[in-house]
């Protein structure tokens, strides 16, 4: 039952990406193109995606977290890390460059697989390789001394 519901949760997320336009790299890149404001090519739609999503989660999380536990787990697994280290800037900086190059972030890239395009498969294969590499490197003892890392994935 939990598995079926998690499929539905992914499906709703995917429909959200499709309806919002996040699944279209051209739209993402036109949003990221601040230089296009002057020429009229800027597409600010994706700011509305973020606003719509955060409005729902801001209220929804508060409602859900008032419960003693989730439906299919013993407890809520919320990120506990607070300190600002180099990785919380370096990681997103690298991610943003890749996002700006192709117009794909992880969710839309996975949804793009369902379009069946060769480009989406190439991007996702490279993305999974990058993810594996980051997890591998963050487990090396020499690096874990530099960064205080327990679980490299808080989200």
């Amino acid at each position: 039952m939990a598995i079926v519901l998690q499929f539905v949760v992914g499906l709703v997320f995917g429909f959200g990406l499709l309806l919002s336009g996040m699944s279209d790299p051209a739209k993402v890149l036109n949003f990221l193109d601040l230089g296009g404001i002057a020429s009229g090519n800027w597409d600010p739609s994706l700011a509305f995606v973020m606003a719509g999503a955060v409005a729902v989660t801001f209220v929804g999380f508060r409602f859900v977290l008032q419960r003693s536990r989730p439906l299919f787990a013993e407890r809520f697994h919320l990120p506990t890390k607070r300190e600002l280290d180099l990785r919380i800037v370096a990681g997103p900086a690298i991610f943003g460059v890749g996002w700006g190059l192709a117009g794909f972030c992880p969710g839309p890239a996975l949804t793009a697989l369902g379009f069946g395009s060769r480009a989406a498969f190439i991007f996702v294969a490279a993305m999974l390789t990058g993810m594996w590499l980051a997890r591998f490197l963050s487990r090396l003892p020499s690096l874990s001394r530099v960064a205080t890392q327990v679980d490299p994935l808080e989200t």
Binding site: A2, I3, V4, Q6, F7, V9, G10, L11, V12, F13, G14, F15, G16, L17, L18, S20, G21, D24, P25, A26, K27, L32, L34, S45, V49, A51, G52, G60, F61, V64, L65, P70, F72, A73, F76, H77, L78, P79, K81, A90, A93, I94, F95, G96, V97, W99, A102, G103, P106, G107, L110, L113, A119, A126, T129, R135, D151, P152, L153, E154
Partner: protein, 142 residues
């Protein structure tokens, strides 16, 4: 460069659906709907017993356009202009950076910001800034 039209209503409703999905995942499994974290944990090493649920979530993401095509007979607009080399480089950077920074647009940008996390705010401002800078250089630096 492909022109796209401003779609505030569809984008806000689509965004709200993403939010509904994140709230559902929290209510069901007690976890943050961060796609980079979910996708990265489909690869070894496995630290918990959540593999099947994560695979089901990703299967749902992939199924969305398939079901849309089946129901309406057409796919939403999608234009991928990047060539193979750019796709590979971008994919590596997105994958590496999102895991190195513990989250992407969904985990930090949506879930983290709504939880008023300072780390998520720093991450979101940073990837927006480098995303803006990258597109600026690619399109206007000549």
């Amino acid at each position: 460069m492909t022109m796209t039209s401003f779609t505030p209503v569809a984008s806000a409703i689509g965004g709200a659906l993403i939010g509904v999905s994140a709230v559902m995942l929290m209510a069901l499994t007690g976890r943050i709907a961060g796609v980079s974290g979910i996708a990265a944990r489909l690869l070894p090493p496995y630290e918990d017993d959540q593999f099947a649920g994560r695979l089901a979530f990703v299967a749902g993401l992939v199924a969305a356009p398939v079901l849309t095509l089946a129901a309406t007979g057409r796919l939403p607009a999608q234009t991928i202009e990047a060539g193979t080399v750019v796709l590979v480089v971008a994919g590596l950077l997105v994958g590496f950076g999102s895991v190195w920074g513990n989250g992407c647009t969904s985990g930090h940008g949506v879930c983290g910001l709504s939880r008023l996390s300072v780390r998520a705010l720093v991450a979101t401002v940073t990837f927006m800034a480098t995303g803006f800078a990258t597109v600026f250089i690619a399109r206007h630096w000549s």
